[in-house]
């Protein structure tokens, strides 16, 4: 997707090799031979996550199969002061699982047992390497499922979901990972096993579970998760509504919510996207519409009927130029197919695309889309917009040609300007992909020095030596100062009124 132009040159090769031998020797007694990798040809698959622009070779990769092994590995690394990067399925889009050149990658992929399914309490206890979709598949026969559904759900792990607080199309109604996880068992950097939250509705002390969720692998290695399961709705139907201008579409989103309806999914696509995907999926999208809204209702047949009727009325009043309602399951899936295939469709339009992830209040959707249109002209690059309109989580896809260095830098600047606009509109620089290494500079835009200092305080409370996935997500003071200077000297600081450092 994104070119390999960010390869970090390795430090002193000899010193690294010596450290590597020491680490491998120390880990050998803990793991079977096949579960410890250090030869470059074995570790190269781990050099990046889903954000392939940022790559680095680790010292070694450990693939433990038990919680006890995880704890022992951490104890060894703690004693040797070697940083550890936890890794799930590696689908992260912000470089959170990118290796550290003098560190160990700790893959949790082999911890993939579903330990317990309890239909009576509607919970499942699973190991971190279990894939998101595998949970729903394992409980489908009970009429239950796990609600948070990131688009990567076929591949991503529940451990990764916990650490990114992942969400998907359904989170408007059913919440994020945070709202669907009861308890996390984890291991601190010193090897101590702890539990955050519990199977009870609350736990003694400060709510540390709330902080561990979304902590991007920086506070504790997750070794077990208890998730909530919810009853599978009996029926789902979707309305596809077209609008002949962006403002009407944006207002329709607000109008649905203002009418007291929380749809099961509320997604938007702009014209550039529908045109790109229609060629791909032939879903019968309205190619003249400026934007298309997909509004889903789920529940009992009576509920769905009532809600579809109410949503149709709201959409008509909001000035929809066309409305189609799915008549059966195959049509519903057809309407969704374009939304689900927007990324591959974008991949056909250009050599590369850069997926952004900012959130804004719903009422600013049209404003941001208009601004992005202006930025397309400014940077000379096209941008597709397909996103979770219901919660204002935007995913602009900037198209570019990665073989051209200059074009990649333009795409990067374009992306940064979008995120800065999100902050200015009272939103945030990441709705679901996390900060990782990718958005560490824009953290300087959203947060001031005091906030960043508090983040470091949280980090140190869990990991005083700062060995667990260090230097991700939370920028240092000097990094922000440098970033600020860079943006200013480029002569294009977009919002000088924002506090930076």
């Amino acid at each position: 997707m994104i070119p390999m132009n960010m390869v970090t040159p390795p430090p002193e090769l000899a010193a690294i090799t010596a450290l590597q031998s020491k680490l491998v020797e120390a880990l050998r007694p803990i793991l079977p031979e096949y579960a410890l990798l250090w030869e470059p040809e074995d570790t190269i698959p781990y050099e990046c996550d889903g954000l392939a622009a940022y790559r680095r070779m680790p010292l070694a990769v450990a693939l433990p199969e038990t919680e006890a092994q995880v704890s022992q590995i951490l104890k060894v690394c703690f004693a040797m002061q070697i940083p550890v990067v936890p890794r799930g399925a590696g689908t992260g889009l912000s470089g959170g699982a990118m290796p550290i050149s003098q560190g160990l990658v700790l893959s949790l992929a082999k911890l993939k047992k579903i330990i317990k399914i309890d239909p009576f309490t509607r919970t499942a206890v699973v190991q971190p390497g279990v894939r998101n979709l595998a949970i729903s598949e394992a409980v489908a026969h009970l009429g239950l499922y796990y609600a948070p559904d990131p688009s990567s759900q076929i591949a991503c792990s529940i451990g990764g979901n916990v650490n990114e607080n992942s969400g998907g199309v359904h989170c408007l109604k059913y919440g994020l990972t945070l709202h669907n996880v009861l308890r996390v068992r984890g291991i601190l950097m010193n090897g101590e096993i702890v539990e955050f939250g519990s199977h009870a509705p609350d736990s003694p002390g400060l709510d540390l579970l709330a902080v561990v969720i979304g902590s991007e692998g920086m506070l504790a290695v997750v070794t077990e998760v208890t998730v909530k399961l919810v009853a599978k709705p009996k029926l789902a139907r979707v309305i596809m509504a077209s609008f002949d201008n962006i403002e009407k579409g944006g207002d329709a989103v607000a109008a649905i919510i203002a009418a007291g309806i929380i749809p099961a999914g509320l997604e938007m696509m702009d014209k550039a996207t529908t045109r790109a995907v229609e060629e791909f999926v032939h879903a019968g999208y309205d190619l003249e519409a400026e934007v298309i809204l997909l509004c889903e209702s789920d529940g009992t047949p009576e509920e769905v009927e009532e809600e579809i009727e109410r949503m149709t009325r709201v959409l008509e009043n909001a000035g929809a130029s066309g409305i189609r309602i799915s008549q059966d399951e195959s049509e519903r899936l057809k309407f969704w197919s374009g939304r689900k295939n927007a990324f591959p469709a974008a991949g056909r339009l250009a050599a590369d695309y850069y997926c952004m992830d900012g959130t804004i209040p719903r009422r600013h959707i049209a404003t941001l889309l208009r601004r992005i249109q202006a930025m397309e002209k400014k940077y000379g690059l096209a941008c597709l917009n397909v996103f979770h309109a219901g919660d204002g989580n935007m995913h602009p896809l900037i198209l570019f040609n990665g073989a051209d260095q200059e074009e990649w830098h333009r795409a990067e600047d374009f992306g940064t300007e979008i995120l800065e606009a999100c902050v200015e509109l009272d939103g945030t620089i990441t709705g679901e992909h996390g900060v990782g290494i990718e958005k560490i500079n824009t953290m300087c835009v959203q947060f001031g020095e005091g906030e960043r200092e508090s983040f470091w305080g949280v980090k140190s409370a869990f990991d005083p030596e700062r060995l667990m996935n260090p230097n991700k997500a939370i920028p240092t003071l000097s990094r922000c100062a440098e970033y600020g200077r860079m943006r200013i000297s480029g002569g294009k600081l977009p919002h000088p009124e924002l506090e930076r450092f």
Binding site: D118, F120, T121, R122, L142, L144, E164, G167, C171, L172, G175, L176, L178, V194, E195, S198, A200, P201, D202, S203, P204, G205, L206, D207, V211, I213, G214, S215, L229, K232, K234, A255, I257, A258, G260, T300, E302, E303, E306, T359, P361, R362, R363, D391, D426, G427, T428, T430, G431, G434, V435, M443, Q446, G450, E451, S454, G457, V458, S460, A461
Partner: protein, 386 residues
């Protein structure tokens, strides 16, 4: 990040001065809103930091489902503003008196009957502006539903009881008021009630609250009240479904509202008339937990949240509390002395300690470091929460 904030607000400056002075003299401040629950948590007699002057709704756009207000805002102003737009705080915080504040409700972190389906108070917090022990005003989270930038510090405030930082402003998610509600009642034994509630919760039934009240001996028949809330069609179709399993009577809407309010505000007899040497204990338990033998088997107990929150009165002494804590721990939950009678030694620990919970002891050090990071001089170290 903007919070409709003005950094040099005189009220905020005054908080800062008070905090900095307390830091200098190393004397803790006890943050207080309406003081409607000064009795909750470990007691302290430190100087008060009164939040009530910092009051007002800063932003409320119904179509965003978010309200942002100052900590000192009366809770009733918030619920009234929401009611005007047909919206609610789904976790149903009790008010307990006119004076209850928004900040106090968040810092208490408790929730009413709706918690079991709607989620707890923490789930609804989107962002907060706080003042740490160094007098810095800091913003975390935001006003949007999805935000994963940085650690989720705003969600550490719920339940922190004023021991971490001063809450200045918060944004919480709100929801539309359900289109329809109905309350059903029947008599049945505790074990059967717990089984049915969990079974129903796994089905597409719009169950929004439940309460079983009866005697602590598990085979006795008690009274189960359940609330359905949701789309008109959903509520309508659920009633015959439930009645096909167990015969219930539907309560008159006014009677029903009064019941749920009294439960939320703890005005039912199971909560009131606390003897001087008695404590109202609260147990938080996993859903799988069946009836427990509690107290002497004669008094009433109340089970809320499909049995996950249980209330009963018992003697206040440490032996009793220890036994209750152990029982809760064995079943994967925890216990607290929620409210104590007037003759109980006020210095008694009210909560389960992390070190008393399986797999939590190591978190005590984490929690202590966390507190030290936000509050190095111990301005908020009132020990109201251990």
């Amino acid at each position: 990040m903007s919070y409709g904030k003005v950094d040099s607000n005189p009220q905020i400056d005054q908080f800062r001065e008070q905090i900095l002075a307390a830091a200098q003299t190393q004397t803790p401040l006890s943050i207080q809103g309406g003081g409607t629950k000064a009795w909750y948590g470990n007691v302290n007699t430190f100087t008060k930091l009164d939040t009530r002057a910092y009051s007002g709704i800063l932003e409320y756009q119904p179509e965003e489902l978010v309200i942002t207000a100052c900590a000192g805002t009366p809770l009733k102003d918030i619920t009234a503003a929401l009611a005007e737009k047909n919206q609610i705080l789904p976790f149903e915080p009790p008010h307990f008196g006119e004076g209850a504040t928004f900040g106090g409700a968040i810092a208490a972190g408790l929730a009413g009957p709706g918690r079991i389906t709607a989620g707890n108070l923490r789930d609804f917090v989107l962002g907060a502006r706080i003042m740490d022990g160094k007098g810095q005003a800091l913003s975390f989270g935001g006003k949007v539903m999805k935000n994963v930038a940085g650690y989720d510090i705003s969600r550490l405030l719920p339940g922190s009881l004023g021991t971490l930082a001063l809450l200045l402003e918060a944004s919480v998610k709100v929801l539309p008021k359900p289109a329809a509600t109905a309350t059903l009642r029947c008599s049945l034994p505790q074990a059967r009630a717990l089984t049915l509630l969990n079974e129903w919760a796994g089905q597409p039934i719009p169950l929004s609250a439940s309460c079983w009240i009866g005697s602590t001996s598990s085979d006795q028949v008690g009274e189960l009240t359940i609330r359905l809330a949701g789309a008109v069609a959903a509520v309508k179709s659920a009633i015959p479904l439930i009645n096909s399993v167990i015969n219930t009577t539907e309560l008159d809407p006014n009677v029903a509202t009064a019941f749920w309010t009294d439960l939320r505000e703890q005005q039912l007899s199971v909560f009131t008339n606390l003897q001087d040497d008695e404590t109202l204990y609260r147990l938080a338990l996993p859903a799988a937990c069946g009836p427990l033998t509690l107290s002497n088997g004669q008094d009433d107990i109340a089970l809320e949240w499909h049995g996950q929150q249980r209330w009963f009165k018992a003697p206040s002494d440490d032996t009793t509390f220890t036994a209750i804590k152990n029982l809760a721990n064995i079943h994967g939950g925890h216990a607290s002395r929620f409210r104590q009678g007037s003759h109980v030694d006020p210095s008694k620990q009210r909560f389960t300690l992390l070190s008393e919970q399986t797999h939590s002891a190591a978190l005590e050090a984490v929690q202590a470091r966390l507190r030290a990071a936000f509050d190095p001089a111990g301005v908020f170290a009132t020990h109201r929460l251990p």
